[in-house]
Symmetry: C2
Subunit: 246 residues, 2 copies
DNA sequence: AAGTGGTCTAGACCACGAA
DNA sequence: TCGTGGTCTAGACCACTTA
């Protein structure tokens, strides 16, 4: 396999094999071609082929068994869970369109809980971005993002962009920051009057509260987000693989 | 580095480096020794060192940057989330002890929702295991596990073991099955009278409903579990890393 | 016994980041 | 420019599964 473009060879193998698997060339439980066969087919070394299969295994769409082969797993269960996606992106994958409403941005002294989550001193300023997410015109989610101000100077000038683009997209495009990991803590509680008003429902319902801390690729905490989500509409999918280390 | 024992060399490197990181030898944001330094220290090839660092990266406790080095991330955020743990194991990690109560086991024709989740015909029998989990003597969780009967024959004979050991432990020890992945779907709803009675609370509260489908390492669905969990006590932590493929 | 994936070596060149 | 991690080769031997 020649490499005229810039993409690494092992990634080309990943793409080709993933397309074949999701395209239905193999049934669930089928064996992928052996490593030797793939070496001949792509004219690549074993190391390269193995690193490609390693990517597919990490994504959960194949499983390797010594002495047996590489088994095709059910791709229905191995969607893009557990990757860092925004609320909008998650629903877009299901073919649902999310709009943003009632955006407000302001510079703040962070409350203590946010200082703790971001591990910052109490004189470090943060931006508070508040907005409502609508699914098919109806409010489904209310979000409060606290962002470290020193990373996103003059954020208020970009409010209009937020109406049409995602916050993460803005951060990566305008401020050239690399967000690559986060921790979500998900709890649930019964709605009160404020939630009823913000999300436009009448009877009390169960709500998700998602507290996310986002980290940059240098290890610094960068953002703390509290999302209040209608529990009667939304659900979380979490993909679990392997036993814990140790 | 000699290999007198059976453990692969790269895993020894993983253990040694992980111990150093969690033991506080490096601060968050510090650089790990370069690959060349580790090659000399362990007297191993670059490939082996890199595969060890790859494991640590997958666990989220380091992050590699081309041209810069390998950065130590905050191990507080990289606990054993997203690995396949039982309810009991998850709480045990926090130092909490969970007891099991009111166990019942029976052979059933599965309801349609379970047939769908496990992808089995409607004449395939399943065991239904029901039980209550207690945290410090108080009910916190009610679980209904549907297990494919052909994988766990005569399960009812092991009910007494379930009082003291976890279900997964029993399955791995007695039936020699390898469970290696699962999908959780988490929703929330308001409790009704039945939930109040089972979990012993008075006022209506918000509950988690966790629907887990468990898969064996051959790709077959094996078990479907519905857990009802008190939302005022429990929380989920999900560790997210990297952007989705494609 | 044969065939599979798992581990490991000793090199090579490339792409990126910082000085 | 130099040092870092990223990719890749062509081999070797081992461990596990199946027949």
């Amino acid at each position: 396999m020649s490499n005229s473009g810039k993409e690494p060879l092992y990634k080309k193998v990943v793409h080709e094999l993933r397309d074949e698997i999701t395209g239905g060339k193999y049934e669930v439980g089928d064996l992928l071609p052996t490593e030797d066969e793939l070496i001949k087919r792509f004219s690549l070394s074993r190391t390269t082929i193995r690193s490609a299969i390693g990517v597919l295994e990490k994504e959960g769409i194949v499983s390797r068994k010594q002495g047996k082969g590489t088994i095709v797993m059910d791709q229905k269960i191995s969607q893009n869970y557990n990757f860092l996606s925004s609320f909008t992106e998650t629903l877009a994958e299901k073919g649902l369109k999310v709009e943003t409403n009632n955006i407000s941005v302001g510079l703040q002294q962070p409350p203590e809980s946010v200082q703790l989550a971001l591990r910052i001193p109490d004189d470090e300023e943060v931006y508070l971005v508040q907005r409502t997410k609508l699914l098919e015109g109806k409010p489904i989610c209310f979000m409060r993002n606290y962002l470290l101000a020193r990373y996103v100077p003059r954020l208020e000038e970009y409010v209009d962009d937020l109406k049409h683009a995602g916050l993460y997209e803005l951060i990566e495009r305008v401020y050239l920051l690399n967000i690559d990991r986060a921790v979500d803590i998900i709890t649930t509680y019964m709605s009160g009057p404020l939630e009823s008003e913000i999300l436009h429902f009448d009877e009390p319902i169960a709500l998700f509260r998602n507290m996310r801390t986002t980290f940059l690729d240098n290890g610094d905490a960068f953002e703390y987000v509290i999302s209040i989500i209608r529990g009667d509409i939304y659900e979380y999918k979490v993909y679990l693989q392997g036993r814990p280390p140790r």
